[in-house]
């Protein structure tokens, strides 16, 4: 069967110390044992409770019957003296309605006046105390629950019930409970084995997947059963993590390729300029000019490197430590002030609409840089006398920062690639830039659990950074709860 692990299937073969150690190191076995233990203990407690309550109830009933019986007889004695008592006892003894009834009336001298016991039971000494003693009833040995009442004149009345039947019932009950308990134990062990097998199967899935990934097959994912249980949750969160790792690795691979291709060009340019100068420059001025240009080229390469490092730093998520609740409005108004002058200089109208307040949980520097990139782009691609709309407002649960220009925009076919590193649209080939601006904006937006939308502004580009609004009450409460 499925749950027959190597240890349980063999059963008889001796398990060495090492084997036993390994068995108990298995989390599945531990969980299964805990399960079986809890199940067994609860079943045992249930059985014991059942046992004592049933027997207690029976005992109580018999005692009640004996008590009321002897009370009635005492009342009869008080009413009509010894003769009435004797008649009453006699009636009871001949009446078949109470076959288990035991009565014995003893005179002051110790002689049996009436009763169905052969002799006074040994050990019955005190009045008004419950005894459970062996008795002989018409020559038949039995067990009875007994109580003695003292009567006036030194007589003693013994009233009791034969409880042999009850003892038999007790034996039947005990046997039943023991069977039930054994069955429960067996079920518990089966359940434990089942739990262990489920556990092992799931863990094995996960460890098979992670093992495959460790060996380099990053495309493997943990199978999700679709039941929606905790194991599925675990599997899904592991898969999510793997997706992110895969994305990061893709990014790294892409960057390495891009560096190889896109940095080669400016490096080649700088190198050839220097070599050309070394070989052909005839005047000091020519040499100086070549060196200056090459230095500029190198500066350009350095800035590309810095942008790349910045993006990977952001994508790695390490900047989340600098997150704080801030109002974006003044931050954006500062940027508006910084860029308004540039726009005016280029005879471009910067139309700004920023509503107050714009609470977000963010890294101020990163948001600034992302918006700066969008504004830089918009200014770079705008003709003079056109309008750039710069706005920020709360829409539903998100803060939307929009930069919309009237430039050439991004062709529909390029939109997906526009945010990749080093992507330059055909129409942008002749403008300066590294093709990293939007990649950084996307990285910043994603770090803030947000999105960058690139839409058609008819004509032009409308870039929207959308990040969640920071709700102080809810989040601070959540923090309190976790604290």
């Amino acid at each position: 069967m499925a749950w027959h692990g190597p240890a349980s299937a063999s059963g008889a073969p001796p398990v060495g110390d090492r084997g036993r150690g390994a068995l108990f190191r298995s989390a599945g076995v531990r969980f299964a044992l805990v399960y079986a233990g809890v199940f067994g203990v609860s079943a045992f407690v249930l059985a014991v409770a059942l046992w004592y309550s049933t027997l207690g109830l029976l005992q109580h009933q018999v005692q009640n019957a004996i008590h009321s019986d002897s009370q009635t007889l005492l009342e009869q004695e008080a009413l009509g003296g010894l003769p009435l008592l004797e008649t009453d006892i006699h009636n009871r003894l001949t009446n078949e309605s109470e076959p288990d009834g035991i009565y014995l009336l003893l005179s002051a001298t110790g002689q049996i006046l009436i009763g169905n016991l052969d002799h006074w039971p040994a050990g019955l000494t005190q009045d008004n105390v419950w005894y459970e003693l062996p008795v002989t009833r018409q020559g038949v040995a039995s067990v009875a629950l007994l109580q003695v009442q003292a009567l006036p004149g030194g007589m003693r009345l013994l009233v009791g019930r034969d409880v042999r039947a009850r003892l038999e019932l007790r034996n039947v009950l005990r046997a039943g409970l023991i069977w039930a308990l054994s069955l429960m134990m067996a079920l518990g062990i089966l359940g434990a084995l089942f739990i262990r097998s489920v556990f092992r199967r799931t863990i094995r899935n996960i460890s098979a997947t992670t093992g495959a990934i460790a060996r380099g097959d990053i495309s493997r994912r943990v199978p999700v059963s679709g039941v929606g249980d905790e194991f599925d949750e675990l599997a899904m969160s592991i898969n999510e993590m793997l997706d992110r790792i895969a994305r990061l690795m893709d990014g790294v691979r892409h960057v390495s390729n891009a560096i190889a291709h896109d940095l080669r060009t400016p490096v080649t340019r700088a190198r050839s300029r220097l070599e050309d100068a070394a070989l052909h420059a005839s005047t000091k001025e020519e040499m100086q000019a070549a060196i200056d240009r090459a230095t500029q080229d190198l500066d350009g390469i350095v800035s590309v490197f810095e942008a790349l490092l910045r993006i990977s730093e952001i994508e790695a998520g390490s900047r989340r430590a600098a997150f704080a609740p801030i109002n974006l409005a003044p931050v954006l108004l500062d940027l508006d002030e910084l860029y308004r002058a540039v726009a005016e200089d280029k005879q471009i109208v910067l139309h700004t609409e920023i509503t107050e307040p714009l609470p977000v949980l963010a890294d101020r520097d990163l948001i600034q840089q992302a918006v700066v990139n969008l504004l830089d782009n918009a200014l770079k691609f705008s003709e003079s006398l056109t309008v750039i709309n710069f706005s920020a407002r709360i829409t539903g649960n998100v803060v939307q920062i929009t930069v919309a220009d009237r430039g050439p925009g991004i062709a529909e076919t390029d939109k997906v690639r526009a945010t990749q590193r080093f992507f330059r649209a055909e129409s942008a080939r002749n403008t300066a830039g590294s093709g990293l601006g939007l990649a950084l904006v996307v990285a910043v937006a994603q770090l803030h659990n947000g999105t960058l939308y690139l839409q058609d502004n008819h004509p032009g580009l409308r870039a929207i950074i959308s990040i969640p609004v920071y709700k102080e009450d809810r989040q601070s409460k959540e923090q309190e709860r976790t604290a």
């Binding site: 500066d299 910084l338 860029y339 002058a341 540039v342 700066v372 830089d376 770079k380 300066a432």
Partner: protein, 227 residues
């Protein structure tokens, strides 16, 4: 000025030393952390240019922490290839006064070192700044040149204040972006040039002599004609 350069890369160190000497400074050099700490602790310098990753068991951060632990307040500029935001924050937290990432332009390094030493000297509560006939009252936030009052926007005022505090020194675009706007990144567009040229319109244009000069390949300098 007397400047200590702690830098293990021989080429970079040679380049920096030569440049600083040409700019008229006296320079000492250490190529490992231990010698650097010994020099820094035993002699007086106006500024220290400090690499972060150094041989000799004591790296730049340790060196600076030890120095600050001895109540030595010599201005320190970190010059490091560790350029992430966290690295920068770490450097400034350890007691660094400025942080420049490699590779760097020498003009930027020189401007920042000179700005550092100036900052060390004139931290007094100045209420008035003066460069040539340009005067700034920091209390009433008013600016006048000669007899004429100049109206400035708040940001223009801060830009001019920064330039005046560093009068006679080269101030780079990044320094302005950091010092006036508190931005720590490089915009691709010439935002700083635009703002400086606007300031120039107000401060220089209506007058005969100009105070705000552009320094080629470096930045700007505010200086009186005769200075």
């Amino acid at each position: 000025m007397r400047i200590l350069v702690v830098e293990d890369d021989r080429d970079v160190a040679g380049f920096v030393l030569k440049g600083l000497r040409e700019a008229g400074h006296t320079v000492e050099h250490a190529d490992n952390g231990r010698d650097g700490l010994f020099l820094a602790a035993s002699e007086n310098f106006d500024a220290i240019i400090l690499d972060r990753m150094l041989p000799g068991g004591i790296d730049g951060l340790r060196l600076l922490e030890t120095l600050r632990g001895q109540d030595n307040a010599t201005p320190v500029l970190f010059l490091s290839a560790l350029g992430q935001v966290d690295d920068r924050v770490k450097g400034l937290k350890a007691g660094g006064d400025d942080y420049l990432t490699k590779p760097f332009a020498f003009a930027e390094l020189l401007a920042r070192v000179e700005a550092l030493t100036r900052r060390g000297k004139s931290d007094g509560p100045a209420t008035r700044l003066q460069v040539g006939d340009l005067e700034m009252d920091l209390l009433s936030r008013s600016v006048r040149r000669g007899t004429q009052k100049i109206d400035l926007q708040p940001r223009e005022f801060r830009l001019l204040e920064y330039l005046m505090r560093h009068a006679g020194q080269v101030v780079t675009r990044t320094m302005l972006l950091e010092g006036v706007w508190d931005y720590h990144f490089d915009p691709q567009t010439n935002v700083i040039d635009v703002h400086v040229s606007r300031l120039r319109q107000k401060v220089d244009k209506p007058f005969e002599t100009s105070l705000l000069h552009t320094v080629r390949n470096a930045g700007y300098m505010l200086r009186a004609e005769d200075a």
